[in-house]
């Protein structure tokens, strides 16, 4: 009997890029539901707009680069980028702001750098930073969570949709009535005005530990994150690194001057820290590769988040921290090469002694 010749190994891997991406999307569902619960349907609209434009951008770039658009779209990486971008945006964002962000993320930050696997920067964060710097006013309409004790106007789904598409609020409603500063904003402006943390924390938007609404989104994000860890889609090094990198300086500053430094818990559960730790920083393409390198990468991101929040002018430093550490990744990889079995242990970066 005759047979065909093939090369070893003869078993196929059980994982694929699309299965990994789908698991990441699945892990984001709890966080998405919490987001909608606290901040209204704006998130879904942002997600839809981002997804449509990300997919369009990806298909366009793939066909321009003479690849099959279908193969690129079915790995769902554009969808993950869109989802992370949607999480970063306020609920009331005009569609063209979201679209710009999504297009920049996929076309420039991903494909112009070489496509999947070749991009140096985290595409979602690059897209977010571009629209943050270009349209700062439009990225400030943060909806407040549903709390009965605030003089606040909630918009219905239809009104949110109208705003997303046209940028206009219903008659008689002012921007100030539908938006509030985020807990991080409140903390930052409060500290700049030399108020103490205790005074700032008295505001109802601050919630119990991380800011009303945001802390619970943080918890649900963490649920998804731990599930990804259990399924071994991500490893512990980056989340732990981000957490420790943020907690370490936060704790020190809190111990030195508790009146003018927010508590470590606030930092950890406020803003996008947990989303960053489990979902944003763990993007494999733009992160470091070796386990030691990943820990350092995570620590760097956490530390930079703290620095930007504390001493920078932005309320939340996640996007910039991630992009800055992306730049450092090649150096981190070079310096953290594991020791090859059988090679001379003394040589710094795995040089052969043969």
């Amino acid at each position: 009997m005759e047979f065909e010749h093939r090369e070893a190994p003869f078993l196929s891997p059980q994982v694929s890029v699309s299965s990994l991406m789908l698991q990441v999307l699945a892990a984001l569902i709890p966080a998405a539901m919490a987001h909608v619960w606290y901040f209204g349907p704006g998130f879904i609209l942002n997600l839809l707009v981002a997804a449509v434009f990300a997919a369009t951008g990806e298909a366009l770039m793939l066909s321009l680069r003479s690849r099959k658009p279908a193969s690129g779209l079915t790995d769902y990486s554009a969808l993950v980028t869109a989802a992370l971008l949607a999480f970063a945006l306020p609920s009331l964002t005009p569609w063209w702001v979201t679209a710009t962000g999504a297009l920049f993320a996929v076309v420039v930050a991903k494909h112009l750098y070489g496509g999947l696997g070749f991009n140096m920067f985290n595409p979602a964060m690059a897209g977010y930073v571009v629209i943050l710097v270009a349209f700062p006013m439009h990225l400030n309409l943060w909806v407040a969570p549903s709390m009965g004790d605030l003089d606040y106007q909630h918009l219905s789904i239809l009104e949110t949709l109208t705003f997303t598409l046209t940028g206009s609020l219903p008659d008689g409603v002012l921007f100030d009535a539908v938006s509030r500063a985020t807990p991080l904003d409140v903390m930052k402006s409060g500290l700049n005005n030399a108020r103490t943390v205790a005074e700032i924390r008295a505001a109802p938007i601050m919630g119990s530990f991380g800011g009303r609404g945001w802390e619970w989104i943080g918890n649900f994000t963490a649920i998804g994150g731990f599930w990804l860890l259990a399924k071994k889609v991500i490893r512990w090094h980056i989340p732990v690194g981000v957490g420790l990198g943020l907690l370490f300086p936060a704790t020190i500053m809190y111990m030195i001057e508790p009146g003018s430094a927010a508590s470590p818990g606030f930092h950890l559960f406020g803003g996008a820290t947990i989303l960053c730790a489990f979902f944003i920083a763990t993007d494999p393409v733009s992160a470091a590769t070796s386990p030691k390198g990943r820990l350092i990468y995570g620590l760097g991101i956490g530390f930079l988040i703290y620095c930007i929040r504390r001493w920078g002018s932005y309320a939340d430093g996640v996007a910039f921290a991630v992009l800055l550490m992306n730049i450092a990744v090649p150096t981190i990889d070079y310096l953290t090469r594991p020791h090859i079995i059988g090679h001379n242990k003394n040589s710094g970066s795995g040089e052969s002694d043969v």
């Binding site: 070893a8 999947l116 079995i341 052969s352």
Partner: protein, 506 residues
Amino acid sequence: MSAPTYDLGTLHGGLRLPANKSVSTRQPIINAPLPSQLVLPITQHVGDPAQPIIGIGERVLKGQLIAEMTGSLGAPVHASSSGKVIAIEPRPVSRRNGDNAPCIIIECDGKDEAIQAADAMPNFTEISPSSLLRAILQGGIVGLGGAVFPTAQKLMQARTCDIDQLLLNGVECESYISCDDMLMRERAGQVISGAQILMHALEIDKCLIAIESDKPEAIRALGGVLGEMDDSRITLKQVPTIYPSGGEDQLVQLVTNREVPSGGLPSDVGCLVQNVGTAAAIHDWIIDNQPLIARITTITGDGVANPINVRARIGTTIEDVITLAGGYTDRARQLIIGGPMTGKSVTTDRVPLVKSTNCILVSSETPSAEPEMPCIRCGDCASVCPVQLLPQQLFWYACADNEIKLREFGLIDCIECGCCDLVCPSHIPLTVNFRVAKGRIRELADEKARAVRARQRFEARNDRLEREKSERECELRNQKDLAKKAGPSAIAEILKRKQQKNEDDS
């Protein structure tokens, strides 16, 4: 993921593969009947091909030497049964994936008549180690774990180093293969005896038999024999069931916590590794005077109806033994010699079973339908690499043909175990790429060596020409000086001498 340890070293990475071994270990080993024809390749080992010493039409007996060793690295070939040599011609062999290689074809006469026992050595302890090694050389014994390195030469090399322990490899970590397991269950005594012979040949007194923890029957069998023999030099060691802990360097690291240096051998760190099958074969030859003419082979996979282990004569074609496993099923797609991770895929079942055939895997696996995607830098490949390489970086540099970086990142240390392939979400054929890249590195190294030699010869030639030129000038100057000193009569003499020389030459 790291392997848990049993009071010794650790192994980085590795995978827990589905064992698929119990299907073939349900029945005891079947002794395959004599085939009508034996196809014996003259190269069943690492090294130079053996040289046939019999002619076509000659009758040979079982165990007779039919091809002798040539060169410094090689092994002889013996007839697996009695019969007539009907041809010495190219036939398909597994070593060449089904392509042809020279073979000695014997038509068996069914009598299985053995050659007269010459020098059986049941009291091997009275023989000097060097004589023992010479005897092992003559038995055609090669490494039966699949690498088929000539055992005698391996032992000779080991004796030049400071060896303190013998490791018998009963790990058999790859899926589907169970021949060593069955050997240890049914012929534990021969394995232990082989270990004792090896220890005497190496003049050491420590032997560790490493077995995977998923082989309780083998552990019991060996433990039982050890208990009876009461040889305290030999101990059993259980290792965790992780692929590829059975690789030579990996086993040394796991059992002794010593790293085999890159490009080096286990003997550089004081160990010698031998497969349990090799030990049993040494016993058969030294004690029972039976050269290596048969071995145990697992026949398994979805493509055969009844997976089993057979003990067949070397030279039996796969076609002949498949019937013992119930024949092919309709799911037979791939014929693999070896395991699913490191085996060789052959194109025809007319290839003979040789010294290296530890497993015949008829698999129903078809190539993955998923296309190859770009590397997403997930790092899973590095986390499973037993040598702690960075397959991701090796892949980038292999695509870029960057020889310097490939060496720096340790491509030559890759054992081609295939773990990285199995965890890659982008379905990149990493192991194949590395195999090709290794060939490329060898090619570039050869070219470099040739260039260096050419330059040396060029510079040597220039030096020679310079030297000759300066010698001629020197001589000319001397002559001129002489002529000046001596005057015109000397010049006339020189002229006369030169004329005579010309006449003599022509």
